[in-house]
Amino acid sequence: MGSQGGFGQSKEFLDLVKSIGEARSKSEEDRIILREIETLKRRIVEPDIPKRKMKEYIIRLVYVEMLGHDASFGYIQAVKMTHDDTLLLKRTGYLAVTLFLNEDHDLIILIVNTIQKDLKSDNYVVVCAALGAVCRLINEETIPAVLPQVVELLGHQKEAVRKKAVMALHRFYQKSPSTVSHLISNFRKKLCDSDPGVMGATLCPLFDLITVDVKSYKDLVVSFVSILKQVAERRLPKSYDYHQMPAPFIQIKLLKILGLLGNGDKHASEQMYTVLGDLMRKCDTSTNIGNAILYECICCISSIYPNPKLLEAAAEVISKFLKVGLFFEVVVLCNLYLFCYKIVMLLNVQSDNHNLKYMGIDALGRLIKLSPDVAEQHQLAVIDCLEDPDDTLKRKTFELLQKMTKSSNVEVIVDRMIDYMISINDFHYKTEIASRCVELAEQFAPSNHWFILTMNKVFEHAGDLVNIKVAHNLMRLIAEGFGEDDDTADSQLRSSAVESYLRIVTEPKLPSAFLQVICWVLGEYGTADRKYSASYITGKLCDIAEAYSSDETVKAYAITSLMKIYAVEIAARRRLDILPECQSLIEELAASHSTDLQQRAYELQAVVGLDAHAVESIMPSDASCEDIEINALLPFLDSYVQQSLQNGAQPYIPEDERSGAIGISNLSNQGLSESSTHGLKFEAYEMPKPPVPSRPPHPVSHVSSELVPVPEPSYSRETQFSPPNLPVSSSSAELKLRLDGVQKKWGKPSYSSTQSSSSGYSSSAANGASQLESAAPSTSQPRESYKDLKKVEVEISSEKQKLAASLFGGSMKSEKRTSTSHRASKGSNHSTEKSSVLKSSAASIDETKIPQLLPDLLDLGELAPPSTVAASVDPFMQLEGLLDQKEIISSGSSAVIDSSNKVPDIVSLYSELHVGGQSSQTTLSPLSSNGSDSINLKRTVSGGSAQATKGPNLKEALEKDALVRQMGVNPTTRNPNLFKDLLG
């Protein structure tokens, strides 16, 4: 149809397209386009350009822009073209502006007027074009200009216009909910529109509305359920069928909405059970779209309130698909298990299809929240996915693993994640997976030693990508140790950390955050166990400072660490021996441009010159573990304040009661984010919004949390296992500034700064003990199960089963405490189970394929297996000959074979058939219009027979070829693919 009249453009343009098509490199393409831009720039400003010419220029501009070049010089011409009265030009103009302009472009203001006018046009094509532009171009400011007209169009007689008006309103709602808040009832009304297309379009805004506010739409549950039911019962016109499924896109939208409405609402959910069961039963797993619906059903079911009523329906689904008694026992279990078997089918039955595996893993991830045991049944399938070469699948599986992580399997999972993290280059995902590793390690770490090693790995490979707070937490953990009254364990931990860092530090190109940790740990604990001499450690520190001389933070850490080591040496009254390279480093830093580095260097020089006693008091050993008590209320000032007030001073006015003044708290964390709200405003005032739950206003009590020196970690953390670095206001290892001296005045009276420097850990243990006692039992327990886990791994032979056991079995261990032998036998059970599942499912494919022969063959998405094709050849053979003779397809009629169709359908056939079909009425009787199109037929014909007479297609291709050649364009030379049917 479209190409019948040729391509309708001038030779010049065709040549352009052709030369682009034949360009061998991007640079050649760019050259051609730049030349084209020059030409267009010149031509477009010429006076009196014929309109058709102008239209072509605009299309050429679109082409230029599409290829990634700037065509902004012609935007104004496109805008002008929308003003034109001719439909053809107007439509081109609208097409161009929607492609060129964004909603914040300056030229929008010039279009608004035209849009207003066109929305009132009595030609629906004009209105449609204008509505398309409205969706794309109208911004928050201009919404009021077109809003009344768009609302009016909701009642337009043409359904296409109504549909677009609904979408436009939806867009307005997305941009600025307040402007259309009074019109929301319109969406409800449009849900009952006589046209299914309009109804379908209305589901989009309703979905958004319900996401925000579930409660006020609970009354619609009944309507949605009944719509879904009607759709599933094929009450909609046939033209909405897609691959034999009744209006699947509408079904999916409805399922999404139902999932929202039923979430945590037993009453609402109960209304959905029947229809969901029906859907699951009817769904055809042989087509892609059937699986899409199935997946959406599972999403919906995992979201709504689970109920045994669904059990029966789901059991039917299972029995229909599996047709074996293998899972009979399951029926009496929880209904959740049933859905997971459904997923197993997704995972196993069509295991060659990665898309379904992917969806299956995703669905599993949804169910695992409801029932953590679900994953165990599919352990092998999950592991297969994990080891799949497909990155996407692997990532999805990691997502699933993250959801099922426990303290018993965290080691295996995090190790896997880190291995994968090292192997990829994609920064975006590397950051994500690194932060996931950190999160998991912090939540579930079985031992602090493991935690440190894991963190080292993460830092080594993705140090620049993780949050710096993670580094601070790591330092704090090393400083505060296990949290037990066990000094030896702590010092072992530290010396192992020191050793690992001394080993790592020699590697090239370490990330900055990691170097900071290394410097700090070496400075604090490098010489603590007397294994390494001070000069060795200081030498290493100097190396770091020199090797990363461009990183000032690292240098600052290094020099402070130097200072600490020298201070310890002096305090221990050993002879201080400053290496020449250290000396030169200190001198170099003393002359640094950075005042921070300078100050540190001078301080170091000053400290080195002091005597032992003085050094002990300004740099007490292991001071990082001392608690700095900060009472945010500053009670020691109370008397002073009282006195001042009595003397007639003004009382303090809290910041939020003052107006306009910039308070001190602006300097604190919270103030930073808020400071933007103070001062001048350059933007217009925001429209008043309905109250959204936002951060609470800061009352006086808020102040105390502001002053806590430890910033809260931004990632979520479980409290059940609290590593010693839990941010308690009393522990403040992180703010290791020069507050040491302050403590003497403000701190606890029991504090004594002059402890013996050699056994400095006792102070940390004493201080840490009280706050860490609670954490102690929980840390010991996972380690126990970790040992059990090791045992399990030894017993199971196959590598995959081992992995399975460590991923899934470990959880059994820690929770159910079954014996290991039972575990092992269970593991082997799974493997046999799986193979039988495969067999039985393979059998069920064959069984289900045969009755569903027709729909399966008509499906385009998947190639039917050869066996079924062979069986199906016969009904089509005659038809194939028919097609060759009469070329029904080329006439464009939408004919499709469906022998199962009933008689009444033939009636519609006659109305549908074009001229070509009339001569062959008798042979055509099995043909009926079915909403599917001609390509279906072509596909089946070519697929069903070996000789594959692609008659009509070939002919058309030849025609096109001839046409192109006539015009002097000959792109076939380079790229014969261009002529290939996309669906062929």
């Binding site: 599409m66 290829l67 436009a168 909405y240 896109f249 975006h428 199109d933 072509k938 192109v964």
Partner: protein, 161 residues
């Protein structure tokens, strides 16, 4: 929501782009470069979804042309895969066994069809037949308008002779 639609050939040549979320021209070029690098290198048996910058990109190859759509994390990937197929079928119906060449020379028509199918990043019309009817209706109106304009200009030309 669909953030953008992208058609690229196997050689990485852009055949059609449609952006439903705001991207500057620079970002667009970058996005296209990144995605073609990501998608064109994928093997044939892998799944049709790619994770990219926190979004999902669903793609499908038809002959030598890749159809890509970028969606949110929580969208139904299989559905989007079918939307792509839906679009291709609609194109096929319009052009009559569509091939890449049709889209190269008639990309504006491919845009019109896409505009009938998707609006503001959502599927607006799930029925192929209706899309085809709308497009045909527009075409015939346009044709009529063209003829009218021609006849008017003919009249003018004759009158001024």
């Amino acid at each position: 929501m669909i953030h953008f639609v992208l058609l690229v050939s196997r050689q990485g040549k852009v055949r059609l782009t449609k952006w439903y979320s705001p991207y500057s021209q620079k970002e667009r070029t970058k996005v296209i470069r990144e995605l073609t690098g990501l998608i064109l290198t994928r093997g044939p048996k892998l799944c049709n979804f790619v994770e990219w910058r926190g979004y999902r990109v669903v793609y499908k190859r038809y002959a030598s042309l890749y159809f890509c759509m970028c969606i949110d994390q929580d969208d139904n990937e299989l559905e989007v895969l079918e939307i792509i197929h839906h679009y291709v079928e609609t194109l096929d119906r319009y052009f009559g066994s569509v091939c890449e060449l049709d889209l190269i020379f008639n990309f504006h028509k491919a845009y019109y069809i896409l505009d009938e199918l998707l609006l503001a990043g959502e599927l607006q019309e799930p029925s192929k037949k209706i899309v085809a009817r709308l497009i045909a209706g527009q075409d015939s109106l346009v044709e009529a308008a063209k003829e009218e304009a021609n006849s008017i200009s003919n009249i003018i030309a004759q009158a001024t002779k």
